[in-house]
Each structure stands twice: as C-alpha cells, then as structure tokens.
Symmetry: C2
Subunit: 79 residues, 2 copies
C-alpha cells in the first residue's frame, strides 16, 4: 500500500529556509511570489491488511520520527 | 492564490536519506514499512490574475530554482 506523508511547519513558526527561497526567487526576477514555506514529503510503501492499519502505523512513525509535533503538523494520505 | 509544489526524486535515482529513515523506523520497531523516499514540499502564496498565470510563474520557479529536473520531478497544485 502506498502512502504519502506531508510534514509542514505550524502557523506562526518562523521558516528561515522559506524566506531564503523567497529572496532567491525575487533575485531571479520571478514576480508574484508573496510567501514560501518549505516542508517535507515522505512517500512510503507499507505492508498492511487494510488502510486503517496502515494509517495507524504511519501515525506512530510520524509521532516517533518523521515529524516534530511541537512545531510541525503532518498529514497522512493513503494512495 | 495558494499553491503547493511537491518535488520528488525520479524513479531509479538513489535516495540514501530515504534508506536512512527506513532503517531508523525499523530500529524503532515500527513494522510494515517497506520503502521510504523523501521529497520536498513548498507552500507558496502567489499573486496572479488567474490560475494559469500562477502555474506558469511556479513552473518557472521550479525549473530555475526549486527542482533539479535532471533527477527530480515536480508537481504543481493550485489550491
């Protein structure tokens, strides 16, 4: 079973990497970009009986390793 | 206008970071994970007249800065 996990910074958490990308886009004369926030994506292959089991496994993976839940949100999508 | 860009490694490109995450999940006794590939996500706020213009801007941004199209694919989603 394939799944995609998207980890993003919570609102209000500073994102200097995003700011640097925004500045770089401006310096490349790419107009109209007003804000950038960077996150991570994990494409995961899980062996599980059903989607619920897979999601439970991935939730544990996020809480223990993939996301820092103090400053990051995560979203799990079973594909 | 809000948009999300997802940049992933092309098939066949080695992903040592993904392998490290996979090993770390195994060492945490999280069962059932058979493969991990890591990518990047960019949440971008664009000012554009319409979705087509926004997508053109973001395509330029991807080609010039956000993705290395030799080894990476990107997908643009206008939200």
């Amino acid at each position: 079973m394939k799944a995609r996990i998207i980890v993003t910074l919570k609102n209000g958490v500073l994102d200097p990497q995003g700011k640097a990308i925004e500045a770089a886009l401006k310096s490349l004369a790419i107009e109209g970009v007003e804000g950038v926030r960077q996150g991570k994506v994990f494409d995961i292959e899980v062996s599980a009986m059903d989607a619920a089991t897979a999601e439970a496994t991935l939730r544990t993976a996020c809480d223990k390793l993939l996301a820092n839940t103090v400053v990051e949100n995560y979203a799990i999508e079973i594909l």
